[in-house]
């Protein structure tokens, strides 16, 4: 369609930073009974490998839709989306990403260990090996010793940690999270944010994170994508000046508050349009 932006983007990006996700001119239109609804309009976004990118915006801005498009849970009406250089469909079949939903969605008939083993089992790997891998991942999210428990025996925060371990079970290059801590209380949420940040620091996996909390987005991200509704679009992309290594105390510093302020301004701008 429009061949110009592609070489420009390719030329301007340093060779070291490879794109994990590339979205070009992407639109999503829902056909409804009266008028078509434009859920996403002309989205352009590049996420490099190893980045922690947050999509933030008010309800209806299309942040979840954008994540779902990248995850091949929804289809674009026009434009291009590439995940690891291939279409979202092929990337999904190649198990390029792990997806964490708003709810833990653990199977109640499986133990914690059984739930983490599920994606490995689907991949058709050896059972004994699955077990070892799943145990290791549970350890990484701090749930060692809970392998034999059933989901209902765990708190909401622990359940969501199990679902993160499950998403990471087959070591996907990209981790996608759709408001994973939205249903949790603030204290639990803070702790999980800190753990997720540490996890990212250790493994430097690409993370695409949807949230409606400014503090969460600023604390976690290296890049914040501010979105706005009607039609769903990107109003600003903020590269975070904060250091990669972070602690909860960072949130009381001036630098943190400056970024938070910038996000808030961008959100307000999007609303005035």
């Amino acid at each position: 369609m429009n061949p110009d932006p592609t070489p420009a983007v390719a030329a301007s990006s340093p060779p070291a930073a490879r794109a994990a996700v590339e979205v070009r001119n992407a639109s999503v239109i829902y056909e409804t009974a009266d008028t078509p609804v434009q859920a996403l309009s002309d989205i352009d976004l590049r996420i490099n490998e190893g980045e922690f990118v947050s999509l933030i915006g008010p309800s209806g801005c299309g942040k979840t839709t954008l994540l779902r498009v990248i995850a091949d849970l929804e289809h674009i009406s026009s434009g291009t989306v590439l995940v690891n250089g291939v279409s979202p469909h092929d990337a999904r079949l190649a198990r390029a990403y792990g997806y964490v939903f708003q709810a833990p969605a653990l199977f109640p008939w499986r133990t914690v260990l059984g739930n983490v083993m599920l994606p490995l089992q689907i991949q058709g790997m050896d059972a004994a090996q699955n077990r070892a891998v799943a145990i290791e991942h549970l350890e990484r999210v701090g749930l060692k010793g809970f392998e034999g428990k059933y989901p209902w025996q765990l708190s909401g925060g622990m359940q969501q940690r199990v679902s993160i371990a499950r998403a990471l079970a087959f070591e996907p290059k990209i981790l996608m999270m759709d408001e994973p801590f939205g249903a949790l209380d603030e204290i639990t949420r803070d702790r999980l944010n800190e753990q997720l940040q540490q996890l990212w620091q250790r493994e430097r996996r690409t993370v695409v994170f949807v949230t409606h909390s400014i503090a969460e987005a600023v604390y976690l991200s290296t890049k914040i994508v501010v979105m706005s509704p009607r039609p769903g679009r990107i109003v600003k992309v903020i590269d975070s000046p904060l250091p990669d290594e972070r602690h909860l105390a960072l949130r009381d510093t001036q630098a943190f508050m400056d970024v938070a302020h910038e996000v808030r301004e961008a959100l307000a701008d999007g609303h005035h349009d």
């Binding site: 999904r92 198990r95 689907i122």
Partner: protein
């Protein structure tokens, strides 16, 4: 230590007293009504055939005693049924048609074979319906319609047709039992296989799971809580089907056949004993399914 044990013991006894008392009262009331009814319903026959021909004056006690000990009463008294039931179990060898356990074995076999076939058919139909919109529209109306045809009308036809194909004995009866038991399983499993939430289906989608993997790892386990109540209904229906299937052929064996011969010869005691036995068989079968359910779902927490 000793006091704790004692308290537990007392509370256990209390439990029995607490739960058993209402049941006992109802049973007692039923027995009283039953004996009174037996007396009233058998009275005219007893007066006509026993008390009046004897020529002696008779009292109410004579009437009661006579109505509760007839050989072929309109309504037998409970102790008569109990005695007949017991004597059929202990006075005859297991392979004798006079022994009720002989008939239990015949009917039980048909019931179980029909139940297993019906459950398999129900599962297959449900899986087909859930995976294909065309089959959903094509099959479901017929499945529902099949249950509006009375089994008593279907049974002779099935027996004649299968008989002409050379199927005799167990097979045609099991088919009729299956005809009754597949339906609850189909309906419940269609609902159960569709019970996973969108988020769970999408999760399987992100794992690039195949349709079979989704069925085996998500849909079937999610449907289990729907399956077991249907199995309880299904096995009871299968028992009804097995007994009904024994009627049109005038089958020589089985609880249904026993009911039929009992009514041919006006042997009411035999009818009642067979009735008691078939309800015991039904209770046993549903209890086995219930136990399996508790075992299979012991880790589920709702």
């Amino acid at each position: 230590m000793a006091t704790t044990t004692k308290r537990i013991e007392r509370s256990w006894l209390g439990q029995v007293w607490h739960n058993g008392l209402p049941v006992a009262v109802v049973v007692l009331a039923l027995l009283v009504v039953w004996y009174a009814a037996a007396c009233a319903m058998n009275a005219s026959a007893v007066i006509e055939r026993v008390l009046t021909p004897s020529g002696n004056p008779w009292t109410w006690q004579d009437l009661a005693a006579a109505t509760w000990s007839m050989e072929r009463p309109v309504l037998p008294a409970p102790h008569q049924i109990a005695l007949d039931f017991w004597s059929s179990l202990v006075d005859w060898p297991l392979d004798s048609p006079r022994n009720l356990l002989f008939h239990v074995a015949v009917t039980g076999e048909t019931t179980l074979v029909g139940f297993v076939l019906g459950t398999l058919l129900g599962l297959l139909l449900a899986i087909a319906i859930v995976h294909s919109r065309t089959l959903d529209r094509a099959l479901l109306p017929w499945i529902v319609a099949s249950q509006t045809v009375p089994v008593l009308a279907i049974a002779p036809i099935v027996l004649v047709i299968l008989g002409s194909l050379g199927m005799e004995g167990l097979a045609p009866k099991a088919v009729i039992a299956m005809y009754l038991s597949f339906f609850p399983v189909t309906v419940a499993m269609v609902q159960g296989l569709r019970s996973p939430q969108v988020i769970e289906t999408e999760m399987m989608h992100t794992y690039a799971a195949t349709a079979w993997q989704s069925l085996w790892l998500l849909r079937l386990p999610a449907a289990l809580p729907f399956l077991f109540p249907a199995l309880r209904v299904g096995i009871a229906a299968s028992l009804v089907g097995a007994m009904v299937a024994e009627l049109p052929t005038g089958a020589a064996a089985g609880l249904g056949a026993r009911l039929l011969t009992g009514s041919y010869y006006g042997n009411t005691l035999a009818i009642w004993s067979a009735l008691v036995m078939s309800s015991l068989l039904g209770l046993l079968l549903t209890a086995v399914v219930g136990l399996t359910e508790r075992l299979a779902l012991r880790h589920r927490h709702t």
